[in-house]
Symmetry: C2
Subunit: 405 residues, 2 copies
């Protein structure tokens, strides 16, 4: 099981609610661009000397970033403790190991260098290090309010996708209990204090992972967009971001080292889930819910799973939000109105989405990413039911899975 | 004379520069909606007991907001000092008076209740209270770095337009020297710590002021948009915000108490100049420069002046940024391409802008807001020359002024 990590429950499945009240503040300072790393030394001066460096595998060493960061840390007189080998799905045991290191070395700053998984793990360590009791049960299963001191987190991002560099999200997998649970910690306590975003770092990401990241971003935008009946400013901004992402992605798949394209993709990822573009509107996130369970059974890349599920999902629900799907078709995909009727326009929008997914080089069926027919009911029944324009139950989800199997 | 308050000089007039590096952090916590005032008491707990309440004229008393705020301040045990009567163009003498009150009463928080002018003045007081020497000369004329303690500012917004509620901008008029100078203080020191935005507060704003605010917002978006040759994510977001503002404005001019419309206008104002939508791109701001001098000679409402100048300005420069004006025409105004050619498409976009201005009920000529023919060369020669797609000199500016006279 996994909780809906993205939206407070009070804002879910409330599609008619217009412009609800909100509070928003995002503490993350972004340093963006080719020379962003030059800001690291000055940022470090604000923190004590003990740094926990959290990273994944060899990739940050291959691109020279590891050496560069270590040199800056040493020049600033920092004592560096390392936690390496964070997985694509960061494990609870790694969170506990990091928490132990924080306490043992009196860590003043956790510096995550890598993609969203590394940053997610760093946030879990930051919130969990000084927590009493069972962190997994309290902060992930029960989603309890954090009431202990939290260690500051910062990040140097090497992949674009999750948006973890400017939000409080932390998805952790407990291998023992076979649970993958997301937690959105409050921005004010767990969003990185600073994040360094150099698009050039993303050049070395394998193309399949780049594409998975792109669709993860695109799905974040659609999940925020496909709900609500109002004329909300956030919807116009989400449309703008979708158009930018489509344009940049088409360039990046041709030339992975197109700086402009990779810059825009990186910034779309950050803006796409720093929560500022979804303010005041209801949201969906059911595609993410289904994909989490698909991932639990097949271990397929998150963005790839989202891309396979999305066209089937939207074809299943579009009639319940027809006005919005017509708008999406026209604005995002340029479908022209020749009097063919709203249903045809809406469906053409979804067809264009499907064509874009194919253009990115993503497979179209679940069987291509290792799902079996036997898995489908298991995925459907373990997915948390929800939805934006249509409230789904397990039978609905099974029908969607069959449609893209 | 007035400085370009909006863009660091290094980013001005550099239209070919692609995706420059940036740093961004915005500390303001926004509380938005009908019940946002309920967040005030809790916010106040973070500050000491001495509050400087800065506001304008009678309007906050008329809508009951003054009493509500005083009651909350008293319930929180605060000692309230008042600085009332802040003008539409806040004066340097008012800044000095506020600075004196801050020192005399050991003020812990400056709470601005009103529109952009009141908040602008509060920021000037906050930065100037403990400055050594001549604040006007140092922080406005010389634009020196602030190196003294700054008092925290917070705001309760009653008009939508300037975006001052989530940025560091502070435009102050020195009546003695006849100068109106804008200063952008760093977000981290002068952006309000929190801002309370209730769209209902804006219902009581006279229609003419509402429309002036709407076009001020629209101009902020165009000034950020009309520069640069790249495919920048920020441009797509600005387009989204323009479309939202057009849609909401058309509803608000019919019904000033349309909550959805006024909410979207208020949020467009904040998002339009909290700087997050213009990141990584060059900007223009020459229309603002011209309007500042128009305002110095005629005292016309800021947004109204911007609306009169804009069509003439854009017709004067569109050939130098033709690709962008074609895009603007198609995306923002829905101009269809029937093979009429780029020039015709671009001009049709500007025509539609002009029609929208008329639809808002804004006069089309400078003479209607009190300008005389004799003023035009004086305005032209006192305007700071600049531009986005085209670098203008005084003769160019005079030609633009004549075209809308």
């Amino acid at each position: 099981m996994s909780a809906n990590i993205f939206v407070p429950l009070s804002h879910q499945n409330n599609t008619k609610h217009m412009l609800y009240d909100f509070s928003y503040q995002n503490p993350t300072r972004i340093h963006f661009g080719k020379n962003a790393i030059n800001k690291l030394a000055n940022e470090l001066k604000a923190y004590g000397e003990n740094i926990l460096l959290v990273y994944g595998k060899a990739s940050i060493k291959k691109i020279g970033l590891y050496d560069q960061v270590i040199n800056i840390l040493q020049a600033e007189g920092k004592h560096v403790v390392e936690l390496a080998g964070i997985n694509a799905n960061p494990r609870y045991t790694q969170l506990l190991e990091g928490a132990r290191l924080v306490r043992e070395h009196n860590i003043n700053l956790i510096l995550a260098v890598g993609g969203g998984s590394v940053i997610d793990c760093a946030k879990g360590i930051a919130c969990g290090a000084y927590a009493e009791g069972d962190v997994w049960q309290r902060y992930y299963v029960n989603q309890e309010r954090v009431n202990n001191p939290v260690v500051p987190v910062a990040s140097i991002l090497t992949m674009a996708g999750t948006g973890s560099e400017m939000n409080g999200g932390s998805v952790i997998t407990n291998e023992e209990t076979k649970e993958k649970i997301g937690r959105v910690y409050p921005l004010e306590i767990a969003s990185p204090k600073f994040s360094i975003l150099n698009p050039e770092y993303t050049y070395s990401v394998p193309k399949y992972q780049m594409i998975s990241g792109i669709f993860d971003i695109f799905s974040h935008l659609m999940e925020q967009y496909f709900s609500g009946d109002d004329d909300c400013t956030s919807d116009y901004l989400l449309e703008g971001l979708m158009l930018s992402l489509i344009s940049a992605s088409r360039k990046a798949i041709v030339n992975q080292e197109d700086y402009e394209a990779r810059s825009n993709i990186m910034w779309c990822a950050t803006m796409g889930l720093n929560k500022i573009l979804g303010l005041s509107k209801t949201q969906d996130w059911e595609v993410h819910m289904i994909e989490h369970q698909l991932g639990a059974y097949t271990d397929c890349a998150h963005g790839i799973g989202l891309a396979i599920i999305s066209p089937a999902y939207y074809r299943y629900i579009y009639r319940d939000g027809l006005h919005r799907f017509v708008r999406y078709a026209k604005v995002v995909w340029g479908v022209e109105d020749h009097g063919q009727g709203d249903e045809a326009i809406a469906l053409e929008g979804i067809n264009r989405l499907e064509a874009f997914i194919a253009e990115l080089g993503i497979p179209a069926t679940l069987r291509e990413v290792g799902a079996t027919e036997e898995m489908l009911p298991l995925i459907a029944h373990s997915t948390i039911p929800g939805g934006g324009y249509k409230q789904l139950n397990a039978e609905d989800i099974l029908a969607i899975l069959k449609a893209c199997y």
